[in-house]
């Protein structure tokens, strides 16, 4: 085979790409658009200004990484609510089982994926932090 053929072939590809849109993205100035099914940071859904979560413990039960801590309590109307709802994002594997298990559609996964932090404690997402994501 002609020793120049591969080089020319290679250069041709390079030349092609010179006129195409680049596949790389200038993150963080340029941000990706994630699919609606993307499994990012969790958020707790609200209804009537209250978290929908009824503290049924199905998510901590199903969680393979055991990263969800729930503590139920009784409110003034004798109803059950989550006094504590924490997700440890260091342990979370973003499998989405918690969303699947939830019987009251109280938890969803958002497109949020920038979860880096400086301190370990900051990876514990409390109920308040999870509720902020509307």
């Amino acid at each position: 085979m002609n020793p120049f053929t591969p080089i020319i072939k290679g250069l041709k590809i390079t030349l092609d790409h010179l006129f195409k849109k680049p596949v790389t993205r200038q993150y963080p100035t340029e941000r990706p658009k994630v699919s609606p099914r993307f499994r990012g940071l969790h958020a707790l859904n609200m209804s009537h200004d209250k978290a929908k979560c009824v503290a049924c413990y199905l998510c901590p039960t199903v969680c393979p990484a055991k990263c969800i801590t729930v503590e139920a309590a009784e409110d003034a109307n004798h109803d059950k609510y989550a006094a504590v709802y924490e997700i440890d994002m260091i342990r979370c594997i973003f499998c989405g089982y918690c969303v699947e298990a939830c019987p009251v559609d109280a938890i969803r996964m958002t497109g949020e994926f920038e979860l880096a932090n400086y301190r370990r404690e900051d990876f514990i997402y409390t109920k308040e932090r999870l509720l902020e994501k509307k």
Binding site: A55, C56, Y57, T61, A72, E74, H78, K80, V104
Partner: protein, 823 residues
């Protein structure tokens, strides 16, 4: 036995079994919602439908149909499955689908069956019920919207608890379960109804929303309150005991528990638990290390002759055995338990009359007997689960019940029960009169008549003829004669009586008198016969068996306090006891404790006694240690720790073991070694090991050698007409002072009170909850009055459990204390 075929399998079953039971015995599962092995068949749920070939293929309920020879049963055909699905669909029509917030989720029979039968949609539509949920009491929540009308709660409350708080109200689609006139539940809160509820209609409020069923470990243990020895299954999560779990196959009582057993577990994880040793420095208790604490304790107790020890009967057999070794090792004979008198019925009474310090009957004799003679209706309050056994015996097995008591009570309401209310403090006298009557009516058994001391005894007992005793005990001679005849002429008869710190009258003399009665009537031994002493605490019998009481020169518990005041005893080792509250005569106990050179206390909680201690060592509860308890009737049961120890606390076993080492002795390192030693030294425990005790435990062997001894009997002191007779006793909701640290018992019975009769109340113009002042020779106190129907005139009853305003301010420790009562 009957032979039958179930699902093409040849099986055998007892003649009186139902198809459901026959299937269960043979490992064939039939789905059911309304069955419990303690209750009579009811046939409410229609889930257990099976087909029987001989009945032309009709579907019949397995739980109410008895087996017959050659029956051919099919438990599952497409038709049956269709019928069961229909039943579930109809139940789910009204049952709310709130499983995520229902505490029963995961343990719910309806949920499990819906899952098994794949009921994912419903062909019918209807509105859910809108009943109001009963939140009126702190222990049991009743949500009748979830009820499936299986009737288990109604039946258990009637058949076993005999309280009858619940009933079916109305009929047809509007039927619901409720109390009389649809009021809020107000019962004795044993929680039996909660335990059997197949759905979440009845729930335990202390456990509400604490954990899901599947997230808890279920661990077996033995109840740490009274001497019944009930088995418990504790629900444990993250090292905490969260609830008791019902297991219908557990123990002689088949999972049945009382209010304190079911709802009183919270003391184990109470925040007030001591976590570190405390040492008194400059007048205040400060935390210190274990080494320092143990060294100090060892150096103080070394001088054995000036040292005494008093333990609570809640220690394990192993701990008592080791404790005894420690005391013997340091050269002290002064060790005792339970105020020194609460065990005298066994250690002195039974020991001399029957030859050994143990009951001759067992708890499971109750249902096999023909007649029960119960001393004090309080037996129900002190040992509620034994009370349930009595209920079943009387209502189901037709056992006759006679009660001799100084007040009326719940047991007396059982069908056919007779209560003989005598004057307070005249128990022994009355029993003597019964003995005398047995002899007079010539009902003496031949074995008793041939005893060498019979003649002498018969002569001595003449002084207590029914006619003479009648006026002193307040019961007519006719009644005494009829009761004596009833007892002696029954084929099988049994005597039950409680002992405890609150019952000083139940002493060695009463025990001897009762033993005499049993001996005369020939009811000492055999199935359904004998004497059953119901000791107050979980290991009272074990403390006696392991010999943790003084013999010979040793001082008993109350004499120890005298000796402290004389200066003969300088160091006191209290294991778990709280004498400032529970022993008679508070002032005297406090005086003695103040005079002590050194008081070391092992305890779970900073009690009133800890205020006098120089060294307080945090001990472990039964849930944190391993060992054996011996309960009423000599039932030895093994239990293992279910949770890690609280904080830095140590078991009494570890503490005593360290002290033995520090005082130059040689101690075993674990309880099983000591138990092996117990088994090899104590006759009754021969051959027992932790392994062969297993889940069911074993009974200690008792050798009897009956002897007729005339008890020393004093006629009750005559009170002045304006005075009241103070009697102390136990409440259903409490046991000792420990249950005060349990949330459940304190919800229903938070404080002490003085119970007086209606007649006295109206005479003195006292109304419920009025503050009344009670004065005795030893002091004075104020309490809220409770006007009650069960107390006879001239008697005032005060429970002995409460640290706040304890009864021992006025209570002398005599069976009856005369008190003046004013508004």
């Amino acid at each position: 036995m009957v032979n039958l075929t179930i699902d093409n399998r040849q099986v055998t079953a007892p003649r009186n079994a139902t198809i459901y039971e026959a299937a269960k015995i043979n490992g064939i599962h039939i789905p059911i919602l309304c069955h419990d092995n303690k209750l009579k068949p009811f046939g409410a749920c229609r889930m257990c439908l099976v087909e029987v070939e001989q009945m032309k293929g009709r579907q019949i309920p397995a739980c109410t149909t008895p087996v017959t020879e050659g029956m051919i049963v099919t438990t599952s055909t497409p038709d049956i499955i269709k019928a069961r699905k229909l039943v579930l669909e109809l139940l789910l029509l009204n049952h709310p689908l709130d499983c995520p917030v229902c505490d029963k989720g995961g343990d719910c029979d309806l949920q499990n069956l819906s899952y098994d039968y794949k009921i994912s949609s419903n062909r019918f539509h209807d509105q859910k019920f809108q009943h109001k949920i009963d939140y009126n009491n702190p222990l049991i929540e009743r949500d009748m919207n979830r009820c499936i009308l299986c009737g288990k709660c109604v039946r258990i409350c009637d058949e076993i608890v005999s309280f009858g708080a619940l009933t079916f109200i109305g009929r047809g689609i509007e039927t619901k379960i409720g109390c009389e006139f649809d009021e809020a539940l107000n019962c004795e809160f044993c929680g039996s109804c909660v335990s059997v509820c197949p759905v979440g209609a009845l729930l335990a409020r202390p456990f509400k929303f604490k954990a899901r069923f599947w997230a808890m470990e279920k661990k077996r243990s033995i109840c740490g309150y009274c001497g019944t020895g009930c088995n418990l299954t504790l629900g444990v999560k993250e090292g905490k005991v969260l609830t008791t779990v019902y297991d219908e196959n557990q123990g002689f009582h088949r999972g049945q528990l009382c209010v304190r057993g079911r709802f009183g577990y919270q003391f184990i994880n109470n925040e007030k638990r001591l976590k570190k040793p405390l040492i008194r420095k400059n007048g205040a208790l400060v935390e210190c290390g274990w080494d320092e604490a143990l060294q100090l304790a060892a150096s103080k107790i070394r001088n054995g002759s000036e040292t005494a020890a008093i333990a609570t009967p809640r220690l394990t057999n192993e701990e008592f055995f080791l404790f005894r070794k420690l005391m013997k090792g340091i050269g002290s004979e002064n060790f005792d338990h339970a105020a020194g008198y609460a065990h005298k019925a066994l250690t002195s009474g039974f020991a001399r009359s029957l030859g050994s310090a143990a009951s001759t009957a067992m708890v499971n004799d109750i249902q096999k007997s023909d007649m029960l003679l119960v001393i004090k209706t309080d037996s129900y309050e002190t040992h509620p689960v034994i009370g349930f056994e009595i209920n079943i015996a009387v209502k189901d097995k037709g056992v006759k019940l006679n009660i001799v008591s100084d007040k009326n009570g719940k047991l007396g309401k059982l069908p056919g029960a007779r209560t003989f209310v005598h004057l307070p403090g005249s128990e022994t006298l009355l029993i003597n009169a019964l003995c005398s009557s047995v002899i007079k009516q010539k009902l003496v058994s031949s074995t008793a008549a041939s005893l060498p001391d019979f003649k002498e005894y018969a002569k001595g007992i003449e002084a207590f003829s029914p006619e003479k005793a009648a006026s002193l005990c307040g019961i007519s001679p006719e009644e005494i004669n009829s009761l004596a005849a009833d007892f002696a002429s029954s084929k099988k008869a049994m005597i039950l009586f409680p002992t405890g710190v609150a019952y000083p009258g139940h002493d060695s003399e009463l025990a001897t008198a009762l033993a005499n009665l049993a001996i005369l009537a020939g009811k000492v031994e055999g199935e359904g016969c004998g004497l059953l002493c119901l000791p107050e605490k979980n290991n009272s019998q074990g403390a006696v068996d392991t010999g943790f009481y003084p013999t010979g020169k040793g001082l008993d518990a109350l004499s120890v306090f005298d000796a402290i005041e004389d200066g003969r005893i300088k160091t006191l080792f209290l294991a778990g006891e709280n004498p400032v509250v529970s022993y008679p005569d508070e002032a005297r106990i406090k005086r003695a404790l103040e005079k002590l050179d050194f008081l070391v206390l092992t305890t779970l909680f900073p009690t009133e006694t800890a205020e006098y201690a120089d060294l307080v060592l945090p001990a472990s509860s039964y849930a944190e240690k391993e060992g054996t308890f011996t309960s009423a009737g000599g039932h030895v049961q093994y239990f293992a720790p279910v949770i890690p120890k609280a904080g830095d606390s140590r078991t009494d076993f570890e503490i005593i073991s360290s002290l033995i080492k520090l005082t130059g002795g040689e101690a075993a390192s674990n309880p099983s070694e000591i138990f092996a030693e117990i088994a090899s030294t104590l006759d009754g425990y021969a051959g027992m090991t932790y392994e062969n005790l297993g889940e069911n435990g074993a009974f200690t062997a008792v050798k009897t050698r009956p002897a007729l001894i005339l008890p020393q009997t004093q006629a009750p002191a005559l009170r002045k007409p304006e005075e009241f007779s103070l009697v102390t006793g136990a409440l259903l909701y409490h046991n000792g002072t420990l249950s005060q640290f349990g949330e459940g018992p304190m919800h229903v019975s938070p404080e002490s009170y003085a119970e007086i009769s209606r007649k006295d109340a109206s005479r003195l113009g006292i109304k419920e909850n009025d503050t009344i002042t009670l004065t005795s020779d030893s002091g004075s106190m104020q309490l809220a009055a409770r006007v009650s129907l069960r107390i006879p005139e001239g008697v005032v009853f005060i429970p002995n459990h409460f640290s706040a305003n304890p009864v021992n301010a006025i209570w002398s420790g005599k069976p009856v204390t005369p008190v003046a009562l004013s508004r």
